[in-house]
Subunit: 338 residues, 2 copies
């Protein structure tokens, strides 16, 4: 059975392809009766329009791209959920690309978007993405782009973020209230804006409480789990931290593992706070105090803003800057101030 095309419908009904096309798009130029006949035959033959023919002509694909570092992270998984919910509602298709934190891959992916493959892009940049992000800067000029969570500060574009500095400040203050005096912040990147904002909040909290910032206060971890584990264990042994803030989900579990290996108790020896959306955080041993980011909402908001721009080209997309607050959920990996 051949694929059913608009031409086949036209021949069967003795009409032109133009009439069929217009009937299917419910054009006012077509009589009600003809529309019914077209619709009936289309249903009967199970006609499904070829999206590529349409995209080619209309220069719009009804497709968006989501570019993220990884998917096996509850933040990104939930964000995709939020994005997809909006896309499905609007009848858009979602292409997904994983960069695995590689700037090179990210650039290659973005370059492809210059082809018109997608109408818009939602992106959370890699830990390696920096000011030399030429592909990004270029892309933003060509199609609507929305950054979510991990933005590239050098590029002017819509941004959906959370209050990273604040969240880190509050987390740090909570540790201090719980008695910590020698804290470490585990960071995933020196370049990433959210990492830097979180570090800012951390530093500010230390300063506000007259605590010193040392070379050991901020630990930059790599994307390699084994190396990170090594780094963590060494650092824990040398510096005797009494509190740690893990700024990514993977780092949070890495801390649990390191403490287990070194037989350090949480929160007895080290108090721990993780930036994480793990639904299992409350069931961890001990239950993990988290900075919980509004992942679904951020994805939803990012997609919503993007679709506004796709609908109306006059929508001032680049000015959209939403900050959705994170919340500190206190559990048993930290001591409440007494």
């Amino acid at each position: 059975m051949e694929n059913v095309t608009i031409r086949m419908l036209a021949e069967r009904l003795q009409l032109s392809t133009a009439t069929i096309s217009k009937a299917l798009s419910n054009s006012h130029e077509i009589s009600e009766e003809t529309k019914q006949r077209v619709l009936a035959l289309a249903a009967e033959l199970n006609y499904v329009p070829n999206p590529y023919a349409s995209s080619l002509r209309k220069k719009s694909s009804h497709t968006i791209a989501v570019v993220i570092p990884e998917v096996a992270d509850s933040f990104f998984a939930e964000a995709i959920n939020g994005i997809e919910s909006v896309a499905q509602e609007k009848g858009y298709h979602v292409l997904i690309y994983l960069t695995h934190e590689s700037f090179g891959k990210e650039e290659a992916i973005l370059k492809d978007f210059q082809s018109g493959r997608v109408d818009g892009v939602l992106i959370s940049v890699t830990t390696e993405t920096s000011s030399k992000a030429h592909g990004l800067a270029q892309l933003v000029k060509e199609i609507p782009v929305v950054f979510f969570d991990r933005v590239c500060e050098e590029v002017t574009a819509a941004r959906i973020t959370t209050d990273d500095a604040n969240a880190a400040y509050n987390a740090t203050a909570h540790l201090i209230a719980g008695g910590c005096r020698n804290m470490g912040l585990l960071s995933a990147s020196r370049q990433l804006s959210i990492s830097n904002r979180r570090a800012d909040g951390f530093r500010q909290a230390l300063a506000d409480h007259q605590l010193p910032l040392t070379d050991n206060s901020i630990l930059y971890c790599s994307n390699d789990p084994a190396a990170t584990q090594q780094l963590l264990q060494t650092a824990l042994q040398q510096n005797h931290y009494d509190g740690l803030i893990a700024t990514t989900e993977k780092l949070a579990t890495a801390v649990y593992q390191a403490c287990e290996e070194l037989s350090l108790t949480i929160p007895g020896d080290v108090q721990v706070i993780g930036f994480s959306n793990l639904s299992t955080a409350r069931f961890l041993q001990p239950s993990l105090t988290t900075v919980s980011q509004p992942a679904f909402d951020m994805g939803h908001a990012a997609a919503t803003v993007l679709f506004k721009a796709l609908k109306s080209s006059s929508f001032p997309l680049q000015e959209q800057q939403q900050v959705i607050p994170s919340s500190l959920i206190i559990r048993n990996s930290t001591k409440s101030g007494l």
Copy 2:
């Protein structure tokens, strides 16, 4: 700046579009010198071919679809990871669709694929998908389809699964060895093949150990977390299970929650095994004994098989039936047989 097309390259070089096209695809019909000139200009003007023009003409999109119930589940997240790794290597694009366990949504999504939007489909069906899956049966006749994990048994197609019956049997046997005599299996669906296979393994293990199968042995949970929680708590109070097997990740955490609410200790009052790929399983309170599925490998295998079919139409895709074993990882939510 306009989009650069093949025609623009042709005009600048005083060649026909055909020559450009062939030069770019490294055709033997084109002289080495011309190829170099074309490539150089293409690079200079940052030419990126329009994928839709190409797809329309070639009737292939270099795009595959992944249809799954949800993404915020470590099994599916890891499976996507496996799929994407293969797709990226092959230069394919990945469209993602979430069904949220709705059969209606699934059918609508699959119908769209009749348009030629994608060259192949990787799917894990919903808990509602049953024998009346007409869209699926239809689709399999038209384009390459690979089921992974959740297959539709009524439809003949390639399948990448894990040894569900075996895994459930072993899990059950482990509980029995740990002293359980009144076990419950939490199932996500009456129709889903993997659920039924797991139930089969559970029943077989009971039979082999002369333990009775009652109406309470298998609990069918819905997709609604609140309802599931209610069901679980009621069942736990009424039936005094000494062992539970949660056949999905969400159900595993639901059990932890229910036990917490009812002040039941794990594994003292109830021993628990979860089908899950949670990286945090080992850090849960208590650490969770899991049936760990090879999620990444299954995704990788499914994509690999699909691409073989896409490369060679003579590849006997429908005969591909891989079973990748799951493993039982024993932790502290169960008692080792003593």
